[in-house]
Point group: C2
Chain length 297, copies 2
């Protein structure tokens, strides 16, 4: 059984850049003439997401379905999200399920089975979790991930403005997010692969490069999952501020782009699948090249 | 359109006690001879949950389905959870969906639609949310709840041992959970009903009565959602430490019991529905009477 961090970093080497394609299904942005209207039939979500995955092969190192946006379409949307995970894996793409779960013991185990577990679970490679309830609520995710070669991505310093409200509060001279990072440190070793990287990922927003650098110092072996690149305003250099230089480019995690690569401007009314494919490919290639060529400032 | 806090407190007056029945489906504890095995067919979950709801009528002021334990049974389990919410509402029971969601703007709106929104959403009366990502991630829940007469229950001080890891860290002389409480205070007024109580609920663990009293001082008008009573070891007086005395008993929220009322010892191998019903009724009546008779120490 392979290790998630190794699988993810192999995919980064294979594609040449740490691009993660986020699949955020918005009914108003999906080209309905091509895929159908997901508000009428959730299968349109599957058609759209699987077409995005087809374009991402060879360009993206991972895909990240945003579960909340599938859930917005009800139980059918939730079911489609699982099908999308299975399809991505069948295409060789690691899946980071963006579910942001978190709960006490037995319920945490329920979420572990639902997200990382085999059928009827999503069998994702990695799942995002929320640390507010404490280390004992993350332990079931860590234990399962270690046993099954999966990953866990913990929200540490998020990319939204409100991240300041709690995460930046000062505790004993350092921000809360640094305490969160120290709290999860005991899980690092168990998820470490032959590459030396750990499948305990930390969510570190691209919009806060200084924090990413400090976070790298606290957790040198953790892969970062970086939201906020592109649509949320951060460039490649900021997004990878916590990465490290290698002969083949910056390494140390994956940078997510959702709107930027899935919804190029003006495409929501497109009727021709060939045009849509071409535009999506271009957007993904552009993001890939941008990340591949970035250097630390 | 009525207000959630008013509906919940009317239900407390009607039943005479602030009992919330938590529906936590555990395959190993559900009497399979009566309801079927949910690992083979998720419809067994619906049979079990709806039978619990039938017994809860007149005794419970609300029900709280634990979504993570439904999700453990895959998309079918997720779908059953929505059916269970609809059934509870059809029986006049307010539904607090225990989903512990939290995400940035557009995704938060997805979770709002999924949990509180009408079909294909769950149309729950209230949903639990995680505050780690900040006030902007709670705002979409607050806005929708205010517009539609729903509630939002924010994790503030949870009942698990690991709650100490982050929630109790000291920030400017007070614990983080107190900062969380101050952060959500601007949402209180918008969810306030004619009763004077606000449908902005705070999750305050029964296992930490001192914290509950301090929390009441910070948020005098918020209803508490109290986990940790019964199976997690806290008695009625501790569970209601943050409640206030009224001529009809302690008021100020609801106290959740899941295992204690849904899984009386030895019942997992029961084959007779009549015996099961009788035992569940007894357990619920006992919890109801315990909470109805409690006084502040």
């Amino acid at each position: 059984m392979s290790n998630f961090a190794d699988r993810l970093m192999e995919a980064v080497e294979h594609t040449g850049a740490p691009l993660c394609v986020g699949i955020d299904p918005f009914a108003e942005l999906i080209p309905k003439a091509i895929f159908g209207d997901p508000r009428e039939d959730a299968v349109a979500l599957a058609r759209f997401a699987e077409a995005v995955i087809d374009q991402a092969a060879g360009l993206a190192a991972a895909i990240k379905p945003q579960l909340g946006l599938f859930e917005a379409f009800g139980p059918a949307g939730y079911g489609v999200a699982r099908d999308v995970c299975a399809y991505a894996r069948s295409q060789g793409l690691p899946v980071i399920l963006d579910a942001k779960r978190g709960d006490i013991g037995t319920t945490a185990e329920g979420y572990v089975r639902a997200s990382l577990g085999p059928s009827p679970g999503f069998d994702a490679d990695c799942v995002t979790v929320n640390p507010y309830m404490g280390a004992d609520t993350l332990a079931p995710f860590g234990a399962y991930a270690q046993a099954q070669g999966k990953g866990v991505a913990v929200l540490v310093r998020t990319s939204n403005p409100g991240a300041r409200d709690l995460q930046d509060l000062i505790v004993d001279g350092e921000p809360l997010w640094a305490r969160t990072a120290r709290m999860i440190a005991p899980l690092v070793e168990g998820l470490k692969g032959a590459s030396g990287w750990s499948g305990l990922m930390v969510v570190a927003g691209a919009t806060y490069p200084d924090e990413a650098r400090r976070l790298r110092a606290i957790l040198p072996d953790c892969l970062f999952l970086v939201p906020g690149y592109g649509a949320q305003g951060a460039g490649a250099a900021d997004a990878m501020a916590g990465f490290v230089a290698s002969p083949r480019g910056l390494r140390g995690g994956v940078v997510n782009s959702s709107r930027g690569v899935c919804y190029p401007p003006g495409l929501e009314n497109e009727t021709r699948i060939s045009v849509w494919k071409d535009q999506i490919q271009r957007a993904m290639q552009s993001a890939r090249d941008d990340l591949a060529g970035a250097s630390l400032s």
